[in-house]
């Protein structure tokens, strides 16, 4: 390896004419001077676009989250309501005691036709 490195040194198998790199650098200089202001304003536009897109996504996400939270509260309210109504309803024996004989007869004697999906 050392022998090869000594032989090859830092030479490359390809080369360029001495004027080539100088003329390329001059071309790069002129192009960069013309292009840089355009690129900068383009970058600012892209930044604005990215920022406004992010803001829009955030707003949508916030709206959806808020809506879900509110509807979640409403749902849990309904559940609480039904649970409360069961807890607060009178014991079955009291309900039966308060019913008249006819009403009790209606409850006790029924035909299967009275049950819609029987």
């Amino acid at each position: 390896m050392d022998e090869l490195m000594n032989k090859v040194g830092k030479r490359l198998p390809y080369s360029e004419a001495p004027q080539y790199v100088d003329s390329l650098l001059e071309k790069c200089r002129l192009n960069a001077i013309a292009e840089a202001p355009r690129r900068k304003s383009h970058n600012v536009r892209r930044l604005w676009l990215a920022a406004s897109s992010a803001a829009a996504v955030l707003a949508i996400a916030a709206t959806v989250t808020l809506k879900l939270t509110l509807s979640g509260d409403a749902d849990s309210g309904k559940v609480l309501c039904s649970v409360t109504s069961v807890e607060q309803s009178a014991p079955l024996s009291d309900v039966l005691a308060s019913m008249s004989d006819d009403q009790l007869a209606d409850v006790s004697y029924y035909s299967t036709d009275d049950i819609p999906e029987y």
Binding site: M1, V8, R11, C28, R29, R39
Partner: protein, 181 residues
């Protein structure tokens, strides 16, 4: 270093920017070009990357805070642009390392008519290295850059760069031994 500070100060002033940019390219342009050329190999690709690097330098100079040397900062931009250029040639999900064979072929295609076989073989061995090893070898061997500066350019640690350089040397040795006539 003082010259660099003066150059950076002038680059940051709108009225001196264009003239200072010319000085910057005159001072470092040649090294940047050959650094890019060793990464992308082909003449046309190196020209495209150099153009893009020059634009990036000019648009980013206001953000340069002087935490690293000017040359290191320029090398970082050039390296990123060159790797970005190579990435465009990769297929989706393909690693840059997979381009080794293509780059080795380009070395042979770009070689001067009178280039000797040892020089071509040596360059092909470098082209076939994984990207990080290739970068470490090129910056250490050709640009004689200290590991600390190489770490700033590549964003890798000094330890991993030393390992990469060592591995690169071993692989080049093996490749040259296996392919020598």
């Amino acid at each position: 270093m003082t010259d660099d500070k003066n150059l950076i100060a002038r680059l940051k002033q709108a009225e001196h920017r264009n003239e200072a940019f010319g000085t910057l390219l005159k001072t470092y342009g040649d090294r940047l070009y050959w650094h890019i050329r060793r990464i992308v190999v082909s003449h046309d690709d190196a020209e495209d990357v150099m153009q893009e690097t020059a634009v990036k330098i000019l648009t980013s100079i206001d953000g340069y805070r002087g935490e690293s040397s000017l040359l290191t900062w320029l090398f970082r931009i050039a390296t990123n642009e060159a790797l970005q250029h190579l990435r465009r040639e990769c297929h989706v999900f393909q690693s840059l390392d997979a381009l080794g064979e293509t780059l080795a072929e380009r070395v042979a295609a770009a070689a001067d008519v009178d280039a000797d076989r040892a020089t071509v073989l040596f360059q092909q061995a470098i082209a076939k290295l994984p990207t990080q090893q290739r970068l470490a070898f090129n910056m250490r061997y050709y640009d004689e850059m200290p590991y600390e500066e190489m770490a700033v350019v590549t964003g890798k640690t000094v330890g991993s760069l030393k390992t990469n350089y060592h591995l690169a040397v071993e692989k080049i040795k093996r490749y040259v031994k296996e392919n020598s006539i």
